[in-house]
Subunit: 210 residues, 2 copies
């Protein structure tokens, strides 16, 4: 898996009336180096259509596309990988379905889950929610940056901090040991998506190499 640092997750509710592929293209132009299609409400066909639209954009820019939850859609559009939560299919089944080449990301909220995901063959894990969030990424209490420090010590696969991260608090996340962040609202909810992404990427870089 190619490394990444700024991972944008789609959040269409944050940009009513604007096209998901157009918004993610702006995000990529602003510095996003991995994109996840996350859609918990649309029909399967609608998710497939969005996935095809996003794939065109991510392919054009050479950015990996990950599909949340809908493994069938990921296979249909030949996405780079899938992201699953703790309540989705077990990791071993997901790996059997997608094969050895696809990226599998797993949301984790505690060290036991992180270690299980690593042992189970996840390519990266999500670590969060770090801060309270309005995007309802997960219905669990914030794990704070303390969880980042635990993961740094005990987990060897790449991890991405997620949950309420924005340009204001990204330095705190990085100083706790994260190298990669994932956001929904900080990008999808921005008035100027490209500018907000650039600012976030700059803050991320600044914090990584102080």
């Amino acid at each position: 898996m190619r490394d990444f640092s700024l991972y944008a997750i789609t959040g269409e509710a944050f940009h009513p009336g604007r096209d998901i592929a157009e918004v993610m293209e702006e995000a990529i132009c602003g510095g996003v180096d991995m994109v996840q299609l996350r859609d918990k409400t649309s029909s399967k066909q609608q998710v497939l259509e969005k996935a095809y639209a996003l794939k065109k954009v991510t392919d054009a820019y050479g950015v990996p596309l990950i599909i949340n939850d809908h493994i069938d859609v990921a296979l249909a559009v030949d996405a780079d990988g899938v992201h699953v939560g703790q309540n989705d299919l077990p990791l071993a089944d997901v790996r059997r379905i997608v094969g050895s080449e696809k990226i599998i990301g797993v949301s984790t909220h505690a060290l036991s889950e992180a270690i299980a995901a690593e042992k189970g063959g996840a390519n990266y894990i999500g670590v969060g929610p770090i801060f309270p969030t309005n995007s309802k990424v997960d219905v669990v209490a914030p794990v704070t940056t303390a969880y980042i420090r635990e993961v740094v010590q005990h987990v060897n696969i790449p991890f991405v901090a997620i949950g309420g991260i924005n340009v204001e608090n990204v330095a705190e996340v990085i100083s706790a040991g994260a190298k990669r962040i994932s956001v929904i609202s900080a990008i999808a909810g921005a008035k100027d998506v490209k500018a907000a992404t650039s600012a976030l990427k700059a803050a991320l870089k600044g914090a990584r190499t102080p």
Copy 2:
């Protein structure tokens, strides 16, 4: 695809408290020669668990297992195929996901859908609902046996009549040209599943070879 004549679709609501794999095993012992796991309400993990349980039974008896809707689950348990409706993923995408070896069945309610499914590479189609049904197989009006006659004339792939078929009316379905029937409640809802299945199979055979 091996031919079949009595295709049982699971309907757990019809046998509260009874295990789905146990009920389907009785159905197979009664004469069912293809089984479909249909579950529109459970979580993905629950569907996966049921699929694994059913796969053990269908493998033991050498009966094909088809998974409705959950293509990822079908791949995970290496089921024999998938069944999709008109509102699921497009057939071309389903074929790309499951590969050339898996059976793909498609529900159809009109000749245009039947012909499109045949052209699109479906291995069989569902034709119905023939009669009114309580199983809510599809939220469309009964197509009556007139649709069976149309399909017999214009479609070459195997088709299975579905919707409100039981031991009383199966002869009417067969005389319209159907060779295969699919049922939910007539089997899953029976007090004695094996006996009801045997009776249905006998009626089916009797109607096929008068």
